[in-house]
């Protein structure tokens, strides 16, 4: 039966593939769910104001998007991969293997990562060290590396409210987690001086020490959220004691339900992230397959439009939605206009 069905479906494919010769006339992109809202805003405005069809924007995650980009060259592969983390060497190798040799890397802005709790709860003023002390599996007490004994925020820092520690942090498949690990946990680890103790405990192995900084406790105090921010928000609704990790734009759309915490005394906003005062942020990218420029109608126009001041600039709709504009946008615009492919990763 299986072979019968395979032949039957093969026949069906042959029949439809024969008629599928018509060229694709819309840009297709895929990737990060963090970039998705920005990409859809640009796609919508592009479709309204240009004579090209509205680009198709697919979500599915940064890694999945880059992998799709690297599947090869041709109309049945995507043109743009949206990504909330930088492309890796293994992706570039995969691309090269499949004939995708020239990729343009476009950084179009930054995304702030905020810590927020229920609107009716107390307010928090954190430092990265507080988060490290609260969530790390092992902390340093009196010079000794011990399992984390802290149960309330006030145990971590006497100035924080006397509230049980419960944190909803992004799961490991999210790009946001990487930023949380490096900019919050590792930074806090170094700030609190635990890093040196870990290095000493691991006989000078710095990688192992960093790994120890990023290892979160598993006693239910820190909960990985593998879904999206809407799930984190629903969990906070159910547990008003909890603190969640959100994207800045998500928080800005839900300011009536969430109270944002400061980090090192700085309140997160588009301005404070742009100026670099607010420490937890990351760049957002999209990667363009150069071989498709000039083949897929509207691709060059779409990427020019994406990085234009009208869209990605400080007054544009992306900033209004929560994107932190890139101060070097002018250089990016020039790079996109010239079609400069990215060099090797440094």
């Amino acid at each position: 039966m299986k072979s019968v069905k395979l032949t039957a479906s093969a026949l069906a494919i042959a029949a439809v593939a024969a008629t599928a010769a018509s060229a694709r006339d819309q840009v297709q992109s895929a990737g990060s769910s963090t970039v998705l809202p920005y990409a859809t805003i640009v796609a919508e405005a592009f479709g309204e104001n240009f004579d090209f069809p509205t680009p198709v924007v697919e979500s599915g995650g940064s890694g999945a998007g880059r992998k799709k980009l690297c599947e090869g060259v041709g109309e049945n592969t995507i043109d743009i991969a949206n990504s909330s983390s930088r492309i890796s060497q293994s992706d570039i190798d995969l691309c090269a293997q499949n004939g995708v040799t020239e990729i343009m890397e476009v950084r179009f802005g930054y995304d702030g990562i905020v810590f927020a709790s229920d609107i009716d709860g107390p307010s928090f003023a954190f430092t990265p060290a507080d988060w490290f002390q609260a969530l790390a599996a092992q902390v340093v007490v009196d010079g000794q590396v011990v399992a984390n004994p802290n149960s309330n925020w006030s145990d971590v820092n006497a100035e924080l409210p006397d509230q049980e520690i419960l944190a909803f942090i992004p799961g490991t498949k999210h790009g946001t987690r990487e930023v949380f690990d490096t900019k919050v946990l590792v930074a806090g680890c170094e700030e609190s001086g635990a890093y040196e103790a870990f290095v000493a405990a691991n006989n000078g192995d710095e990688d192992a020490a960093e790994e120890a900084c990023m290892t979160v406790r598993t006693d239910g105090v820190s909960v990985d959220i593998d879904g999206d921010y809407t799930e984190t928000l629903a969990r906070i609704d159910a547990n008003p004691n909890a603190i969640g990790v959100f994207g800045l734009s998500f928080y800005q759309n839900n300011t009536d339900k969430l109270k944002v915490a400061t980090m090192n005394g700085v309140e997160p906003s588009v301005e404070s992230v742009a100026s670099g005062e607010y420490p937890v942020s990351r760049p957002l990218y999209f990667y363009v397959k150069k071989a498709h420029i000039g083949v897929i109608p509207g691709l060059q126009e779409y990427i020019d439009f994406f990085v234009s001041d009208d869209m990605a600039g400080p007054e544009g709709p992306l900033a209004a939605y929560g994107l932190v504009p890139d101060p070097e946008l002018a250089a990016t615009q020039e790079m996109v206009a010239n079609g400069t492919p990215m060099g090797p990763l440094n």
Binding site: A45, E58, S59, G60, I78, T230, T255
Partner: protein, 454 residues
């Protein structure tokens, strides 16, 4: 079952068994009756739990989603200034298209300010910028399309129905309150007071929202404009592909297996495989679809044809199982009679057995289609979970154009940051449920009207 194993023929009275009146219940009868009463109670409890769950689900979806079918609109006169919209003055749409939606947004802003002045609405602490923010960004795009389609409108005043933004809409649906607006960075209490004043003057009102069924998806900044048009078309195209492919393949396979194939180990193996195939998780078919249809056969991403092919693979086992059951239910006497008067095997099947099995086959097909209609997982992998704003063209070419699908649209909207999308997602679930109920109703009607029992 214990009582059924008691010997049927009454043996000699057992020791301890006293013959009594049939009208007075002995201990065993009472115990049996009690067991039956208990069993009935369990059954009623099970049905009750299922009903409560169903009612709860329906109430939560309806309460969240019914409001998506009504939308807050402002009806106002909009003056279209020629000097802004058509600088050249020759009403040439190609040249006029240089004015972007930003230009039209300004025109709408001025129209709203003029309306407020005319009606004497003044809200303390509300700037002109904030006032005009209550208009949806989609309104500018709609106005632009309208003007470009009919350039002669420039220079005149047109009566326009303008969408309000999602927060204002939410205010009239109870999602946004004055208290929450204080905290909300996207709306101010002054804007809500303006909306109240406009409503008191009869300019702003909630209307039936057909656009929810016809318009395409919208970006995160315009939940008020998001609709199901592309998703409904995409689902329809996929169902067409599934119908055209899976019915002939499924029915032919089952007729062969049921009526012609020899019964041996090989056909037994096939049977087991089909039963297993029906139980394979649907995501597996998605992986298969990505590998075969997109990477190998080179079909386009996000296209209903690929979705349809993947769902066909999923539906075929369901159809085969239903069809075989329907064929089995036709009594052998029909076949024997046909063969007895000299019909060939094929004539007996196609002239007599198949027509009698048809209602069962159709029912199975429709149930298989309904199952496919609600399927999301395999579509994740073939690029259907996407933001698509252009309607696919008419079939057959249209099945190669990118499109979304109903269940995928629900999934998409539940992930968006703006709380207004929750209402949209529930509304989409209602639409999906209506389609499923319709399909199942057709299946039941077919069964009732045409099924023959022997």
């Amino acid at each position: 079952m214990t009582d059924a194993t008691a010997p049927a023929a009454a043996p000699a009275p057992r020791p301890g068994h006293t013959a009594g009146s049939l009208l007075t219940l002995d201990k065993r009868t009472r115990a049996r009756n009690a067991a039956e009463a208990r069993f009935r109670l369990y059954g009623a409890i099970a049905v009750g739990i299922a009903l409560v769950a169903l009612v709860w689900l329906l109430i939560s979806i309806m309460s969240g989603g019914l409001s998506a079918f009504r939308q807050t609109m402002i009806t106002m006169p909009v003056y279209l200034p020629a000097e802004e919209l058509d600088e050249a003055g020759n009403r040439n749409p190609a040249e006029m298209s240089r004015v972007t939606t930003l230009g039209y947004a300004r025109v709408l802003d001025q129209a709203l300010i003029a309306l407020m002045a005319e009606q004497g609405i003044a809200i303390e602490g509300l700037s002109e910028d904030d006032a005009s923010d209550i208009i949806s960004q989609e309104a500018a795009a709609q106005l632009r399309n309208r003007v470009l389609a009919n350039p002669d409108l420039v220079g005149t005043t047109v009566e326009s129905e303008v969408l309000t933004n999602g927060r204002i809409d939410g205010y009239f649906k109870g999602r946004v309150t004055m208290a929450s607006a204080e905290l909300d960075s996207n709306v101010t209490p002054e804007q809500l007071r303006l909306a109240d004043a406009l409503r008191a003057n009869g300019v702003l009102e909630k209307r039936i929202n057909w656009a929810f069924l016809t318009m395409p998806d919208a970006s995160d900044q315009r939940p008020e404009a998001a609709g199901l048009g592309v998703a409904i078309l995409g689902s329809l195209y996929m169902m067409l592909v599934v119908l055209v492919l899976s019915v002939p393949i499924g029915v032919a396979a089952s007729i062969y297996l049921e009526e012609f194939a020899p019964k041996n180990r090989f056909t037994d193996l096939i049977e087991v495989n089909i039963a297993n195939l029906a139980a394979v998780p649907s995501i597996v078919f998605g992986i298969l679809g990505l590998a075969i249809f997109i990477n190998f056969a080179g079909l386009p991403q996000s296209a209903p044809v690929v979705g349809g092919l993947v769902l066909t693979l999923m539906t075929i086992p369901t159809i085969i199982i239903a069809t075989r059951a329907a064929l089995k239910a036709v009594p052998p006497s029909i076949r024997d009679a046909a063969l007895g008067v000299g019909a060939s095997k094929m004539q007996s099947v196609f002239h007599h057995v198949l027509p009698l099995a048809m209602p069962g086959i159709l029912t199975g097909t429709i149930i298989g289609l309904a199952q496919a209609l609600g399927e999301t997982a395999p579509l994740l992998l073939i690029g259907m979970v996407a933001f698509v704003r252009n309607y696919p063209s008419a079939p057959p070419e249209g099945i190669f154009d990118p499109a979304s699908a109903l269940p995928v649209q629900v999934y998409n909207w539940t992930q968006r940051g703006d709380p207004a999308f929750v209402e949209r997602a529930s509304g989409a679930i209602i639409v999906l449920l209506v389609f499923l109920i319709l399909m199942n109703a057709v299946a039941i009607i077919l069964r009732r009207r045409f099924e023959r029992r022997w």
